[in-house]
Symmetry: C3
Subunit: 341 residues, 3 copies
């Protein structure tokens, strides 16, 4: 079961061009496509005639056309043409979903109420359209449930053990970093400061630090996605609670969309700024971030496979779990409320 009445990431805008995309989201097999007119659309991925996935068809004027017998469906799910047949039964339609495009992210509104209208705009991912940053994104398919990815992102103390070669650094410093956790009904914030620490490899390559750095991690958890703002300034040059502080910045966007109960889509982008004295390092930041997230994927999938092997044994909490546990309580509460309503 998944939190409903939420905007989830369905796709990147650039994925939807002249071909339909098949993607299962919260157990629903969907076809995502962009119409000839440029609008994004999401339908159940099943022709109601003989059940071929509509994603095997083609985008055509007016909608998407099935690749078996040519039935044409409008973005609202209604079949509007059956080749060779004048009458179109009113039942000849498929479920359509609300989608919206914002900052190059295609969001889908999923609800447990039929014909539910979104109660908000989709989230803004400002760094995607901020001229100070360059960004690039990737998509990982996970053989693991979505909450294990939340856990991983809400606890960045693992960097010292999992990501030694890129953004890690000294493990002990990570495990002992002062950490502040705040939360409300649908939001968790974890802030960690590592003052006067050695810059990790990625940081040194991307920014001309003079020596030790004051490093921050600000993790904002929302039900369907996280924003993680990390970066550093030269040690003792600026307060880390100044929202307009300088230095090197990485703004990560993490859309965690359940595919099924046990598999997930992980959409991630990383935006970074450039120092005037350094050529643009955004491609390096992107590729090292990708390498880092691939390391997380290995760990999380091994973790999940092991949870399946060993079954439902107790887990012992340690000090780093505070943020992740609050996020789990939010998801639990939303799921329980849905069961009771």
């Amino acid at each position: 079961m998944f939190p409903m009445n939420q905007w989830y990431v369905a796709a990147y805008a650039w994925e939807l061009q002249d071909k339909p995309v098949a993607r299962t989201i919260l157990n629903r097999p969907l076809v995502l496509f962009r119409t000839v007119a440029g609008e994004v659309a999401a339908l159940d991925d099943r022709c109601c005639h003989r059940a071929l996935p509509l994603s095997c068809g083609i985008i055509d004027k007016g909608g998407i056309r099935c690749g078996y017998h040519g039935l044409l469906y409008a973005p609202n799910g209604q079949c509007v043409e059956i080749p060779g047949q004048a009458r179109i039964p009113s039942k000849c339609r498929v479920e359509a979903y609300k989608v919206a495009e914002r900052n190059q992210i295609v969001w889908i509104w999923l609800s447990d109420q039929p014909d539910s209208e979104p109660t908000s705009l989709p989230p803004e991912i400002a760094a995607h359209d901020d001229p100070r940053y360059k960004y690039k994104g990737g998509l990982f398919h996970y053989n693991a449930p979505y909450q294990l990815i939340h856990d991983n992102l809400l606890d960045l103390s693992h960097l010292g053990y999992v990501h030694l070669k890129t953004i890690g650094g000294n493990p002990q410093i990570h495990m002992e970093a002062p950490t502040r956790v705040e939360s409300d009904d649908d939001y968790v914030r974890v802030v960690r400061w590592m003052k006067a620490s050695q810059p990790p490899a990625t940081y040194s390559q991307a920014w001309p630090f003079k020596g030790l750095i004051d490093r921050w991690q600000e993790i904002d958890f929302h039900v369907s996605h996280l924003n993680i703002w990390t970066g550093a300034v030269d040690a003792d040059t600026e307060p880390l609670d100044n929202p307009n502080r300088g230095g090197f910045h990485m703004r990560g966007f993490h859309g965690i969309t359940p595919e099924t109960e046990t598999t997930s889509h992980y959409f991630w982008t990383i935006a970074s700024n450039s120092h005037p004295d350094r050529p643009d390092m955004s491609e390096l930041v992107y590729s090292q971030t990708e390498a880092t997230f691939a390391e997380d994927k290995v760990v999380i999938e091994a973790q999940y496979q092991n949870m399946c092997r060993f079954g439902d044994l107790p887990m012992i909490d340690i000090h780093v779990d505070a943020g992740a546990n609050r996020a789990r309580r939010i998801i639990d509460r939303l799921n329980k409320a849905a069961l009771q309503s």
Copy 2:
């Protein structure tokens, strides 16, 4: 469940040479082989000593010899030698099946009655031994139940959407072709005429048509196989109901043998005639037919996978489904009758 007391295609004659062939047919794992004396045989593929598949053994004088301890089985299933042991228990035997070879097809009689004798000769596939034709065949394994292949073959209107590059042509013409459907208790015939139409790519390459063509499709469905006679003459030169009409002919044989409830063997051959002014095009016709059937396989397997994903949702019939629906009623009736007997 499958219609019983039928001849099903088990193999091509040329598959059975000096090595046994393992093939599951209607859920029965069988070994098919040709004896040293040249007869075809079919046995349960399990040595009754320690259960090794007999198909792991070798063909030897008198039958097939197990590859583990050398037990020798005659084509009637009786063990006739246990190396190193004088006495052969009478229980030391495996089930044998009735098989027959006709027109280079090896048929197997499958019945729900023990020791049932076939009530007919196996079907004749005359084009295989007709000097006017050259033919060649292929075998596809399908991850889809057999009736989806019936549906596909009984409705050739899909050619315009699925087979654009070869035997398709204008989709609208296909969807609007006048179609006649006849049937009786174990037989469906679908006849479609596309008069004054553009010849599709395969036709133009194989035959020197002058311009537009009158094209026919005659589909004869039987419970275990279909014969599909397609072809064309120059437009307005000959009536399409003349059984001896000229022009370009393709005679397809389609043996659809269930492997399990959800997987199938699809044996197909295509026989074509040659125009005196053109070199033999039968290899071209074969290879384009193979490409076409590979396209069908992609569609049908995607369709079945989608039926599994979405579960048992209603399907909406359209005008092209008449023939396929009658074939489904024949199979349903045979299966229900078997349940009641």
Copy 3:
């Protein structure tokens, strides 16, 4: 279910160097490792914090360190360090298993009693440390239950059908070899003599026999492993019951360790002696043995897959099954006794 209170082979000594090894043994997913101090250890392969396999971690001073958040476990299973946290909960531990290293084999004691102490030393495999022999070993993973490997090794009559190219020889001679079977509560011995027979290919290459040979096979079955002593002398030169007889000797060790109910680890080594007039042939003996055991694997996995396909049908015994059937009765008796206790 498996016989408990036994030493099973867990690994070869040379597998445990500077990296942990993940291996499931009798349904328990374990991490095997050698400490910095050189001791072997076996733990449940699951960090009790967030369930990552410990085999994804690293060997560190004092034990094994988890690759996610750095928890350190001692060889007795106790967590001895949680980075960044002073207090270690007493529950923060994993199950540890008794292991012992002897003759380059790492054995694990598996019991159905908590904290059970081994009732014996692990078995001695003397040929591994006997200067007259050179040996080398391999490890096969089997998609088949362990008892099918017992069956195969306790009946060497299959050599003539399965291993024609190496250690086989004339199948009829194998099937008719006089065979003596002895057993007690936890032990079966099968002795077969093939006098005045042609040497098989491997024998001729490894030893300068003058012509026909007197060949022996002595198979000693124990619950978790077999020792198979095979070899030959020139025909009519020495009695085959002289324990100090000369000629060519192959001493096989076969550790059959269930992975799960349906899969197995097969550890095997082969030790052979060299004739003074021939260069060392132990590498040839090893590689031909490996080829032979690969042939067995094909047969046994095909056999098991077929048993799954056909279900629980009766099997008919023949004369060669006496040894294997006694071994099965030993396993059955141990398993039944465990159920009643």
